[in-house]
Structures are given as C-alpha cells and as structure tokens.
Symmetry: C2
Amino acid sequence: MYTYALKGTIAYTPEREHFLIRENTYLVCENGKVAGTYDKLPPHLAGIEVHDFGNAFIIPGMCDIHVHASQSPFQGIGQNIENGKWNTWFDRYAFPDEAKFRDPAYAKAAYTDFVKKLQTTPTTRVCAYATSDIEATHILMDILNEYGFAGYVGNVSMDRNCNPELLRSTEETLHETRIWLEKCKNGVGAVYPIITPRYFPTCTEVSLAGLGKLAQEFQVPVQSHLSESRDEIAWVKSIDPTLAYYAQAYERHGLLNGIPCSIMAHCVFSSKAEQEALKRNHVLVAHCPQSNLNSSGMTAPVLQYLDEGIEVGLGTDVGGGNTLNLFKTIFEAVLSTKIDRANGMAEQKKRILSLPGAFYLATKGGGILWKSGSFEKDYCFDAVVIDDSRIKDRNQRTVYERLERIISLSDDRDIVRKYINGREVYRKGA
Amino acid sequence: MYTYALKGTIAYTPEREHFLIRENTYLVCENGKVAGTYDKLPPHLAGIEVHDFGNAFIIPGMCDIHVHASQSPFQGIGQNIENGKWNTWFDRYAFPDEAKFRDPAYAKAAYTDFVKKLQTTPTTRVCAYATSDIEATHILMDILNEYGFAGYVGNVSMDRNCNPELLRSTEETLHETRIWLEKCKNGVGAVYPIITPRYFPTCTEVSLAGLGKLAQEFQVPVQSHLSESRDEIAWVKSIDPTLAYYAQAYERHGLLNGIPCSIMAHCVFSSKAEQEALKRNHVLVAHCPQSNLNSSGMTAPVLQYLDEGIEVGLGTDVGGGNTLNLFKTIFEAVLSTKIDRANGMAEQKKRILSLPGAFYLATKGGGILWKSGSFEKDYCFDAVVIDDSRIKDRNQRTVYERLERIISLSDDRDIVRKYINGREVYRKGA
C-alpha cells in the first residue's frame, strides 16, 4: 500500500440531502483509506502518483447489502408470474436454481459469472447469500476475494419448508455453520462470514436459537428477510400465532443484534412495533425497491424509516430484482417514493426521496457496516470511475445533470476503473 | 423488392394473451409484406434466399407511438425535480431544449443522434413530436427516412403558454402547417405528417379549430396529450370551465377522429365520460408507463381501457421517459399494473397485464396504424433480430424464459438486424 491520488469530478454525499460535486479534484488514498480531497495537492503530498481521469466522475464504491449470488443465473427470468403466488417463484426458479450449486464445478463457474458481472457495476461491497451448500459458499468467498471485492457472504440455513436438495437437518445446519465460521472467521481477504437464516418459515426455533448463539460466540453479523409480502407475514403468523410482530422470531434468539449489526431485507410491511424493534436493535434495513416493485408492485416506507432514525442501505436482491447495478436501484428508490406520493400514502408529507438521498443510501447508508461509501477522511478507499462520454449529448450540462444522467442511463460499458480498500481491482479493457 | 426468408426463433402475439413462439421457423417476406411462417419452406418457395439466424429471436418491429424526438438530447435528465411541479420541467428542460432546434445545423446533428439511437432499439415505427420549427420538422422526416424508418412526425403547434422562442401566432401556426402538409402529404419515404397540437393549454380555440379542419382536409391523423396529470387537468378546467371532460377540447374541433385515427398520449386520469369519447372516436391511447412512473409515480388504468375495447399502444415518451427501448416500456407496462394491484386499485380484478399482453401493445397494439407489429400474413414486414447470447446463463432455459430475459435485460448490443417494410435497415457492426 502506498499514497496516490485519483483526479477527476468527484461526487459523494457526506450528508443525506445533497451531493458534494467538485471538478478537477484530487482524491488521495493512503494505506487503503481516504486521506482527503484537494483542489490542489498540498506540499506534503507533492510528487505522489496521480491518475488523472479528466472530467470523468469518481464516486464512492457502492454497497449492495442484499443480493442472492446464487440467483444470478436466472436474473431477468420469473418476474412476471401471472398469479403472483409466493411459492410458485420459489418452486419454479429460486429453489431449483440454488440446488444446482451442489456441484462444485457448477458453483465455481456460475459464481465466477456473478462476480464478473459485479465487476462492471458501481458495487464494491456486498452482503451476499450463497446457498445451503457449505462447499459452494467457500467457493463464492474465494472468488469474491480473488476479484478484489469486500463484504459478507452467508451460507443459507434452512431446516424446514424447502426442497429436499437444499434442506439440512437442524444438527447439520448448526454443525456446518460452526465449522465454516471457525474456518473463515478471520476473513478470506476482505470477505467475511455472516449468519444467514433464510427466513423464519424455513428455520425451526432450534436452528434459530443455535444460530443466535453462534452469532454471539463468533461476534459476526446476521442477515435475513423480514416482512416482504403479506402472504409471507400471514404464513409466519400461522406458524407462530404468539408473535407480536414478525421480527420477534429473530429478536428472541439474539438474531437482530449481530455484530456490528443485523441486516434485514425488505421490511415493506413492518408494523409500528416491528419498526421499534428495528430501531432498538440498530438493525440496518436493506431496502430493495427494484425487487419490491418488480416482484409485486410494492414499496417500503423508507422515508418513514429515515425520519425515525432507522439505518437504511440498498440491495439489488437479484434474482427478485433484475439488475446488479445499484444506479438502477437508486433510481427506483426515488421512484418508489413517487408512487407512494401519487397514491396518497405520504399524504402528510408530500415529498419524495431525493436523488442524493437515494445515492446516500447506496453508498454511505449501507457503508456503515465498513465505514465505506464516502470520501470523508479515514473512510475505506473504495472508488469507481465512470466515463459518461458514451451517454452524453451535444449540449453543455451541469455536473448535477450529468450525474443524474449517469444514474438513469449508464451501464457496464461506462465503468472504467474500480478501487477497493485502495487497490485497483478493475480496469476497463484490461 | 423480392421474396426471401429469415430463419430463427420467431415470437409474436397474434392475440393479446399469449406468445406464439416457434424455433427453427421461416418468416417469409414478399414485396415488403409478411407472406407466411413455415416450419419447412413449401415447394413454391423452394430456393428463395434464406438468412439463417440460428436460435436468435426474430420479433415484429415495435411501434413507439409517443416520443419527443426533440427531447432526446436531455434523455435521463430532469426526472427528479424535488417539488414535482409541472412547469419547472417545461421551463428548465423541455422548452429551452426544444428551442435549440431553430438552428438547422443543430437540428440535423441532434435528430441524427436520435435516429441513430433508435436504430439499436426494437422500434421500427414512430409517432414522433418534433418542435414548432417547421424547417427542423422537415429535417427530422428526412433523417428518419434516410435511416429507413416508417411512421409519423408532427410539427408541434403552440400559440399560447410557452416560451417566446417556440411560440407562433395563430395565423403562423395554421399557415405553416398547411404549407408543410401540402409539401409532404404523400410522405417522405414511409414517413408521413401528423397534426400535432401540443395540448390544450398551449393551443387557442382558433388554432385547434383550424388544425381540425386541416386534419379533415388532408385526411391525416392527429396526436396530442390528454389527462396526464392532475395539475394539467386543473389548468385545463381553469382555462375553460365549460368542458365536460378534457378531451372535449379536442373533440369539438374534430381532432379526436383523425385519419386513420387520433393518438392521445397518457390518459392517466380520464373520466368515464372521457373514456366514452375515446371509444366512440376510435382513439388510439399511447400508454407511456415508464414516463408516467418516472415523472410522477402515476399509472394509467390500461386494463380497464382494454376491457372496454379502447385501442392501446405503447410510447416511450422520451424525455418524460428515459429510454427509447420499448422492451423497458413493456416491462414497466406490466409493472404499473402490479403497482395498481398492490395498492388495491384493481381490487375487483386481481390481475396484472401479462407479459404477452404488454408485448402485444408494443407491437400489434400501436401497429393498427399501419397493419404492422405481427407476423400474420399481409402485415408490414417489420422484423428485429435479437441475439441473446450476451445475456444468457449456463443453464438451459425455455424459449419463454429467454424472451422474458430479453425483455428485462437486453440492450442495444443485442439487436443484430432490423427490417422495415421488407428492407434491411440495420445490421450490427456494418
């Protein structure tokens, strides 16, 4: 590691409500951390290596805090099931596709496909779900590390209500999880394990209790799904009618306060009591607007969560979502609040999530897990360089307009360089 | 013109509710029309030229029946205005950008950019808005023709409530429109003129009356905007409180029954009386779900229109929409009915627009203007060849799943060939 600078149009959101955009600015990296941003390099940094990207944008690497790596092969498929039945999607797409990862050769090839697709997105850190196959989970961690990514990978625990290929006995899932944690608790590079009960309907009380104990023992975070759909909530209540709120199924076993925190995906229909549980346990909500809209036209009350001080980041939720590109998810995070406003759901507060507000969620919001997603001093040096010349028009546009257009229109072709923890991990055309 | 065949996986929607997908099938072109589809070429066609695209998809060319060519330069910009005010968007983006087309050199360059972008979408026919500058309108028609496109182009009439650069006097707009119609009533290639009052707030009664007479005299179609937002409807009512419904402002001047029909964009908030007017005048509704959602989170009641026998096609509505790719619009047409269902708006009929239903709207729906958008005999031979190998995964998927994935994930890179009226107009890499 050494000291160097990137130069270009830097854009980030130190606070939620506005972009800080500065042209011709130096972003200095020191030992994998952000050392500072400068209009002109100060004397003590004179002579450091500078990579000048002209007027290209340099933004913080984004954090995809809810993505099913094992569903990436069927990305874009299965989102238009006419009857909208919860189980049809699992039975026809998610479970059969996840079962294929039992074959290590397939897992290696398909996870490599996933990570290569991830390379040309703005994402630098993930909270990923693998499958219930522990060998495949190790493979995913290895490949993410090999390509320079940081984040968490979960082996998915299921000891009821899934297809036989993915089902484990309670003992098996707890035993395998312990062995796995012992093996990789110190990380595979910057890729760490995360306890991952898929969700309450697929995990018995005994397994949830055991996973909660493992989370405390190994001091690791926890991820799961919560209150995504009305069907799901009805199912949860039918399994345990004593629950005051769905999240209690996790909370009573110490699964809402993982270390540094627990990540709960969706939270579309969280009751007041559930929201209080999220807040008192410092849960990070993985808001997945693109997935919620695509899969069922639903929106989560994210403005309300933010008002109440609940932490929120963004997730693509591939394969419920159909893109690995968080720019699209940012766009749909704004969109989903427009839909709420149009439907009078935010009647009292006629406002939408702002574009910088959504950008913040994708970067610094999810980045609380790592102190990443911003260019403030001492943040992890995760940076993505985006060249907007392919999508530009022949008129002069402001930097804000260019950034808005990048969020709307850019794709894999426009990502030219990526750095994680100060290390260059992707170079277009290389 | 001659007889030839394309061979591949053909997919189209002769009826609204299901795809007809056939692999290894010949699609025969005779004098610019579809002659038939065959598993095996019959004896009388033996020896005709065959372009074999293997397992690539061949679909009917799509009809974008509402697109502002002059707003294409700011595509992806201006869709996140915090206060959501109707006028802010016009004053900051639409009007200043349209005014630039007064410069013929700019018009030529910017319209060429637009048409080149259109080349690599599934669109073969458009109903496009130019600006109020008649010279620029001629330029757009010429360029569309030069690149082989078919459709209609409108010179935009505005004699009140717009910026001075775009404003014309009533006499000017009627005179210019007459001269223009006389000049190109027989088409520039397959590109024809369409009467285009922007919308009621920008057109006086006198100009609307005059445009209605011109439409009848020249036997041309009409396009305009209708009931897009609540602000707009309130404005319309304040201008003429005697209107029983917004569309009456067009209907009373013979603007709802253009020839072959009138095209009204949006119709998000059409009252029962307005819907009856749409039906009795055989109006073609240009449904713009991506634009409606992006600009304000709104959805049009498209399932209701279809149930009532109102004709519907799809529009991208760039720059209100941010994509020229109707695949995205198809996806959002389905999505917008999911949103309605989630919000209980379609409570009595818990259903969504199916994927083939939305595909139908993008092809045969808008195609009623030209008898295009299907591979039935005697339809215009508009065909688009799509190679899905870039977006495929390593598993076997059904043809339906592959088509669903194309709609979700494909982009300009996957369009390999395009034919309009039997003529090859685009070849990837050529």
